[in-house]
């Protein structure tokens, strides 16, 4: 196990005091340390939002790209370097709203990545508008009489798509969250963890208390049973399950490109001379 201080997860942040992002960062650093990964062995891809600032607040390789676009750049690393641990991390708005199309298609690709969604059921950075997971009764400066759409249940969506690993956790239970991250790392394929992360500044409904009162740890649930997983995934009310909801071993994105074998394309070293046969084909 590496020393968790190596990730410098105590850096100064622009997060509000009491924000759920703090325990999330701690759980992440704890998990990485227990997984014995050095900062240079991890690459984190984020979008834009409060959550998406994570690579500035923890020391790992980082691609802090565009709002909604945290997933697409991560695929290249799966092609370039199979050894690298890849984490995609962003907010609920970034992952499920602006980036909705990418999550859909990357569940289909099943790249070996960990996708951590800080689900605070609100747009934090832009100061409190509804996100795709906001509850209908949420009132905001835009949603003045409540949200004009039903909330997305991302876990149900992902299980419905048979994403190869779907979990839910909550920053209210750091130990649980740490274990979920470690499980996601162990899983070969796309691993989504939707993480309840209270936004103390803008979401006055989904508070620490709101989550703590509702979440319960799954026991005796067989995550490989899709029908059972679907049922659990639909539970979202007075009781909300946390834990691994669905898991299925299936071919990853790389597995579907058999000629790559265990080659890291980043090591591909070609000279024009080696490629001249391509020209001859047009003669």
């Amino acid at each position: 196990m590496v020393d968790k201080n190596i990730y410098q997860a105590d850096r100064e942040t622009a997060w509000c005091p009491g924000c759920g992002n703090f325990p999330l960062r701690t759980a992440l650093a704890d998990a990485l340390a227990e997984l014995d990964l050095k900062p240079e062995e991890i690459t984190m891809y984020t979008g834009i939002g409060q959550a998406a600032k994570m690579p500035h607040y923890i020391k790992v390789n980082g691609f802090n790209g565009l709002h909604g676009r945290s997933l697409p750049p991560s695929i290249g690393m799966r092609v370039a370097n199979p050894e690298m641990t890849v984490i995609v991390e962003s907010g609920d708005g970034c992952s499920y709203g602006e980036g909705g199309n990418h999550i859909l298609h990357n569940i289909r690709r099943n790249p070996d990545i960990i996708h951590l969604v800080h689900d605070n059921q609100i747009y934090g950075l832009t100061k409190g508008q509804a996100s795709p997971t906001s509850l209908e009764e949420l009132r905001t400066p835009v949603q003045t009489h409540g949200v004009n759409a039903e909330p997305l249940n991302p876990v149900e969506f992902a299980v419905g798509m048979k994403a190869s690993f779907v979990a839910r956790s909550s920053v209210g239970d750091r130990e649980h969250l740490k274990e979920m991250i470690k499980e996601a790392k162990k899983h070969k394929g796309y691993a989504l963890i939707d993480i309840f992360q209270p936004c103390v500044s803008f979401n006055k409904i989904n508070t620490y208390q709101w989550y703590n009162k509702r979440v319960y740890k799954l026991e005796d649930h067989d995550p490989t049973d899709h029908a059972a997983a679907m049922k659990v995934a639909q539970e979202f009310g007075d009781k909300i399950p946390i834990g691994i909801i669905y898991r299925e071993e299936k071919p990853t994105f790389r597995d579907r490109i058999p000629y790559l074998k265990d080659k890291a394309l980043v090591d591909r070293d070609v000279e024009v001379e080696d490629l001249k046969f391509l020209i001859d084909e047009f003669k």
Partner: protein
């Protein structure tokens, strides 16, 4: 000697097969050729045609009059009748006693052998009419159907029957195969340039007329062990490609105007994160869906101004299929050298058209990655280290021991951490802009000037109009002292040659495949120099040399 063949019919009739066989055969007979496609955005029906112009000299663009029309349906006869040259010939299944009409019962002949190979009857007949033997055509048939061996014999038989069914009318000669030439379409040329440049990861979403690049590089992926991934949309295309570069691979994407519009924010991301990327935009007329299968040069100002605010960017336009190979290769090196996005403005005219070109000469082609030498990194790595020329040593994750590589789309400091202070912002903007200065000083291609020393007129063009302009100038040169200035690099704009020429008495005639004289506007805003005349065309079709001649007489010299 110049001979122009048009193959016309409806989508789904197999025009491409006919063209492929004719093209191969003419090449083997030692002819230079230039072929263009005029097709509709549909899979069946409509009217499509392909033009193959052959000559014993280099050909640079399409021709207007038709010498031999292969009309695969009756409608094609009516449509192209008025374009026939005086001693032109129409080969069709239409019975007629007109002099120029040659009848062939292609379907009848094919019915006895293989009804699906009906087009091969036309091919055989065409070679007889032109006076060429069928030996090379037979080889072309064998190669073309190599994967469907069962039909080779049927096609050879129908080739022979077509040949026997008509009389010889022209006297084309076998010029002997030339080893130093090749035939390539512009989309494959862009793909080839990229592959020679060490492309390892290509991500794109299909869009006419750029799909040819995607198909070509995908056809090589297994052999080369590289990855070509069809993205879920063009926003993903560019963000995926940028992730590929970040991970340490040469990466690229390609699209047409609509897709480029979706990529806009991603190009800015490449700019501020200083991530090298090459983007091929194979232009078609717009806006929105526009004319999906036709040509145009309407994306110039959009490409140059592609994203909000300012960042170093290069835009270049290949002049033809040969140039497309070299320019794409060059674009990959320059993107890496300056850590910038480079947009290649090709178009449907180049992309779908094929041309005989000298075999690509690789002797000056060298892949230059410009990655940091890990031995030179001391202490904590700064991705955006301030340097004299603005270029910071670039590393990829995992390359440096005990060091991480961080990129950021927010304004950032040398370590890539988010900052908002005015001082760092100023320094970072200046750092990025310095790269443009170096690029302009060291790597910009001045436009190529052809013509007399003190011309009355100069035809100014950029990208794909180069070929038609060369031919147009040749015709005009009999009557005028006239030169031609052909631009490759359009952004940053090379100004030296232009300013020199503009200081003479010569009148500048800007010739462009768009309605708004975009290059004229760009030149004007950068140099104050403006066109004396504009010859513009935005109907989705390429210029021909004759058309340039005609329009010059009508609109310029009057």
């Amino acid at each position: 000697m110049d001979f122009n063949i048009v193959i016309a019919g409806e989508a789904g009739q197999g025009l491409k097969t006919v063209e492929a066989m004719l093209t191969k055969t003419f090449s083997r007979h030692g002819y230079y050729l230039f072929s263009t496609k005029d097709y509709m955005s549909r899979v069946r029906g409509g009217h499509n045609f392909m033009q193959i112009r052959i000559s014993d000299e280099k050909v640079e663009g399409p021709d207007e009059g038709i010498d031999l029309l292969l009309a695969l349906n009756e409608e094609s006869v009516e449509i192209h009748n008025s374009e026939m040259n005086e001693d032109g010939t129409i080969l069709s299944e239409v019975e007629s006693d007109k002099d120029e009409m040659v009848y062939i019962d292609a379907k009848g002949l094919a019915k006895e052998v293989n009804p699906r190979a009906v087009n091969t009857v036309f091919v055989g007949a065409a070679f007889k009419i032109m006076g060429l033997p069928t030996d090379q055509a037979e080889e072309a048939v064998k190669e073309h159907f190599a994967k469907k061996e069962s039909v080779v014999d049927d096609n050879l038989e129908l080739l022979k029957q077509g040949y026997q069914a008509v009389d010889q009318l022209y006297n084309l000669k076998d010029l002997g195969e030339k080893e130093d030439r090749m035939v390539i379409d512009g989309n494959s040329a862009v793909g080839l340039g990229a592959l020679l440049g060490g492309l390892s990861y290509y991500t794109a979403y299909p869009m006419s007329p750029s799909t040819g690049i995607l198909h070509y590089v995908a056809s090589k992926q297994e052999e080369l062990g590289i990855v070509v991934e069809q993205s879920e949309d063009e926003i993903a295309s560019i963000n995926m490609a940028l992730g590929g570069t970040y991970a340490g691979m040469r990466s690229m994407t390609g699209t047409s105007g609509g897709g480029l519009a979706l990529m806009a924010e991603g190009v800015g991301l490449a700019g501020i994160t200083e991530t090298p990327i090459v983007i091929a935009d194979v232009q078609r007329p717009g806006p929105a869906t526009g004319l999906p299968t036709r040509t145009g040069q309407g994306d110039l100002l959009f490409a140059v101004n592609i994203a909000q605010d300012e960042f170093p960017l290069m835009v270049l336009a290949p002049k033809d299929q040969e140039d497309a190979v070299y320019q794409t290769f060059r674009a990959m090196n320059l993107a890496d050298k300056y850590q910038i996005p480079v947009i290649i403005l090709s178009d449907q005219f180049i992309g779908d058209g094929s041309k005989t070109i000298p075999v690509i000469d690789t002797s000056d082609m060298k892949i230059e990655r410009h990655l940091v030498d890990p031995a030179e990194v001391e202490g904590e790595y700064k991705r955006y280290k301030f340097t004299e020329d603005g270029i910071s040593p670039r590393a990829y994750p995992g390359q440096l021991k005990d060091n991480i590589v961080l990129l950021d789309s927010d304004e950032h400091d040398e370590y890539a951490h988010i900052v908002e202070d005015a001082e760092t912002r100023d320094k970072m903007v200046a750092k990025r802009n310095k790269k443009m200065e170096k690029l302009a000083a060291e790597d910009l291609l001045e436009p190529e000037y052809t013509g007399p020393e003190s011309p009355e007129y100069i035809l100014v063009g950029w990208g794909s109009t180069a070929g038609p302009l060369r031919e147009g100038r040749k015709i005009l040169a009999d009557e005028f002292e006239i030169g031609h200035l052909a631009f490759n690099d359009v952004w940053p704009l090379p100004t030296e040659t232009l300013e020199e020429l503009a200081s003479t008495e010569a009148k500048l005639v800007f010739v462009e495949n768009n309605a708004g004289a975009q290059f004229d506007r760009l030149v004007r805003s950068e140099t104050g120099i403006k066109a004396d005349y504009n010859i513009l065309k935005d109907d989705g079709r390429p210029f021909s040399g004759q058309e340039i001649y005609r329009r010059f007489k009508e609109e310029v010299s009057k």
